[in-house]
Amino acid sequence: MSNSNNFDAIVIGGGHNGLVNAAYLAKSGLKTLVLERRHLVGGAAITEELVPGFKFTTFSYAISLMRPDIVQDLRLADHGMLVLPLVNTFQPDFNGNYLLLGADADANFHEIARHSREDAESIRDLSHLIDRVCFALKPLMDNIPPNAMSDDPAELAAMAGLKDYMAGLEPDVQAMIDKFVNCSAAEILEEYFESDLVKALIASSGIIGSKVGPRSKGSGLVWLFHKMGEYDGVLGEWGFHKGGNGGFTEVLAKAVVAFGGTILTDADVDTVIYENSVATGVRLASGDEYFAPTVVSALDPRRTFTQLVSSDDLPNSLTEAIGKYKFQGTAAKVNFALSDLPSFPGLENRKDIFMGFTNLGPSIDYLEEAFADCEAGRYSKKPFLDCCVQSTIDPDMTPPGKHIMSCFVMYAPYHLSESDWDTERENLGDVVQATIEEFFPGFGSLILHREIVTPLDIERIVGLTEGNIFAGELFADQMFLNRPAPGWNQYRTPISGYYQCGSGTHPGGCVIGGPGKLAAQQILGDLKNQEN
């Protein structure tokens, strides 16, 4: 056993949460090793130059600004973290109408008023109420959640404290939280808005990455979660990291190394080594072994509990919960290299409309129809698309004058009822292209390169089970006290010294870093207790 293979902590998986976790552990003085299966770190947050000069954000393509405390703690700005804020949101329909929202509240009022003067006012009320909801829920996002299954007096007190806290919230905030949990996004939106475009724009937040339609119960919670992710304490904004999301995970990797951590790529962990329910290290597929009293899985819950360790060594209740834990990825990506910007009839030569999210899905009915295909086990014939022409914000994504367009595609269910993804890959690309063409005539002639990423590709390449971008559905029974399983929501596992820190733990998913940070907090707390 060589000394160089001994560490204080080993993190399995170099996605953003694995890197955040490792950086915190290394910062605290632990000799930390990150093992990444692929040739590059980043997990789903990578940038690849598939065509010379064109940088593709193959998977994850935007970030809700990381919490400033993580940025400060890990000195990410010093390592080159640079999030470019999005300027506009563009939501066109098929008749040449559109919503173009930007940074100025008054200009937005008048833009929405073109569609409905009442909606223009409603959106202010609703936004403020949602901000207050997010504010109220912030302590839940920023702290290790209590364990609802524990008899430990401290946990019982924490659960009681949580109940009191929720009961103490202002009534309108409480009522709104209830609505988010119990209603569909469409139900809430019907109460506030009359314009289809306005409703559809907001409703899309309620379906992103999830197997729900805007009229399904559950879409309310997905919507709320996306508002929480946006929320960062100062600017409730989304942005593109300089150089794509891969640029961000490179910054995280620099932070890990700067704190003295080690990152090993092409290091496929086969199993966690443990004896008598105590973890001692990991074994790679190559047979190499690395040892540490602390081993952290940044992989999704299924891999954490059924692949890296044997389910036989876990309590039945946990194995059952993980067995029932829903992944069911429903999203795909189609990315384009373009010779020029697409053109919207009536708004020709307007670069600004692409400086942010371009939302293609003009009504709740449209989104609901797209979901009906998903329910039937087909990808949507008329998909909802969230398009980003990142080169309009970051010129370094392409050669001068050229563009890159990332399209997030809903719905593309992992399980196809009548075909398989290797057969359907190019067909999906064609459907997406045809949809864009409907809004932006002539789009097809601009395409220099097309990259299609199906849920199967996400699973194969990134390792996210069934291609679920959040490492597990954002459903109430899989969140907070239940993420990933009741009683195992505090980053620990039944194997002593073995922890979890991926997006499948609270408050994942999205690129917010919370799980990595809170897991580190738990690990460091446990280590301190062991010393005492």
């Binding site: 100025d104 200009a107 504010f135 100062v234």
Partner: protein, 411 residues
């Protein structure tokens, strides 16, 4: 009625906010786009173009120009090579700063100077006092426009139009041509980033603007207003007269005046004991160094995010979303047993999007200026004064390699 700069007819349609303000009697745009942060990031991520023409501009020439400038400037003008530029200040007899500015030396006896306030008569009066002939100070403020081309892609843009910029090292200057316009190009700027400033004869202003905007299109070139510039200059640790200090010329009492050393420019006097320059304010500055009588030192403050957020959360609100950049004075207190023990003040405050934290430029008594010294900064939370933890740091806050990197590929 305000005047318009030589570039105004191009700026007017680009200003989507249609808001203008007055800078030395000229109309300028505080911001062109609704998203100020996006506009700011043109400086840090792509490339920005800014009209700084309202600055006062002077050409000082003639065989006695060096003698005159040696007398006026607190920094040694002889150390400015031909083809070089200097950031400099001029002080009064008591060592208090009158103004700061950038001076370009384009020839043995030819200098170009920018200044925030007029200084023609003052310079001429010194020349008369010294009974200097063979020196001319010309006010060329309205004969030239100045454009600042700033950002990581600045060289990629200017090099398409002229070979003259490529070999310029940081703070180098050259006469050159942009298209058919005879211009002066300096590798300088007020952003702390890679960039150039271009002096353009008035009649060529629009041609040069157009050619830069066209060359920059593929790099997302963006016109920026004065607010984005000021945000960048705080990160670069560059002081602004009227905000971080006042000209001693129109001050009433010394409490309103500051010395170059107090403003953080003691490096200008590094070789003072070895030279015998007879510049205005020398004796006072020597005495200040010898007797350690500086009242303040200008430093950077990094506001602790945890503390800043906590005081807002405790009050039940989020830290303010707007209000990214402020020029109002904020008080600083010692962290001690006695609360609210006044120590100094911050002059410029910025929530730096780039650094993801609030920062400030501050004046503190010397015993509190060590790197990492903790102080309390007063912020207003729901209209009440509240202290947040801040740490002293040296300026600049942000200093990218590209600012001084060689563009010609040489060493």
């Amino acid at each position: 009625m305000p005047k318009m700069t030589a570039f105004h007819s191009r700026l007017e349609p680009l200003n989507e906010t249609k808001v203008w303000k007055n800078w030395s009697g000229f109309l300028v745009a505080p911001q062109f786009k609704y998203s100020l942060t996006n506009e700011y990031y043109a400086i840090r991520s792509s490339v920005s173009l800014l009209d700084t023409s309202p600055l006062f501009k002077y050409r000082i020439s003639g065989s006695n120009s060096v003698r005159l400038l040696e007398r006026i400037m607190s920094r040694d003008i002889k150390r400015c090579k031909v083809g070089g530029a200097q950031y400099t200040v001029w002080s009064n007899e008591n060592g208090f700063v009158i103004q700061d500015g950038v001076i370009l030396r384009t020839d043995e006896f030819e200098f170009y100077l920018t200044a925030g306030e007029p200084t023609l008569r003052y310079f001429n009066s010194i020349a008369r006092e010294m009974q200097l002939d063979q020196v001319t100070v010309e006010d060329i403020s309205e004969a030239y426009g100045i454009l600042a081309l700033q950002g990581p892609h600045a060289h990629n843009v200017i090099s398409q139009l002229s070979k003259d910029a490529t070999d310029l090292k940081y703070f180098d200057v050259a006469h050159g041509k942009l298209g058919d316009a005879e211009v002066i190009i300096s590798r300088t700027g007020y952003t702390g980033d890679l960039g150039y400033e271009i002096w353009v004869p008035k009649d060529k202003a629009l041609t040069v603007w157009d050619s830069l905007m066209t060359a920059g299109e593929g790099y997302n070139i963006a016109p920026i207003g004065t607010t984005a510039l000021k945000m960048a200059r705080v990160e670069a640790g560059l002081l602004l007269m009227g905000v971080d200090f006042d000209s001693s010329r129109f001050a009433w009492v010394d409490a309103q005046r500051e010395t170059a050393i107090e403003l953080g420019w003691s490096w200008m006097f590094r070789n003072l004991e070895k030279d015998d320059r007879d510049f205005i304010g020398r004796r006072a500055i020597e005495a200040e160094i010898k007797n350690k009588t500086s009242r303040w030192k200008t430093v950077g403050l990094e506001i602790d995010w945890h503390s800043y957020e906590a005081v807002h959360l405790e009050a039940g609100i989020l830290p303010p979303k707007s209000d990214l950049y402020r020029e109002t004075t904020m008080s600083i207190y010692r962290r001690s047993e006695t609360p609210w023990e006044y120590a100094g003040y911050a002059t410029s405050f910025l929530f730096s999007s780039l650094l993801r934290k609030p920062i400030a430029i501050a004046k503190l008594p010397l015993d509190l200026t060590g790197e990492g010294t903790e102080v309390d900064l007063e912020v207003s939370v729901i209209r009440k004064p509240v202290n947040v933890l801040a740490k002293v740091t040296s300026l600049p806050f942000f200093n990218p390699e590209r600012k001084t990197a060689l563009m010609g590929g040489g060493k």
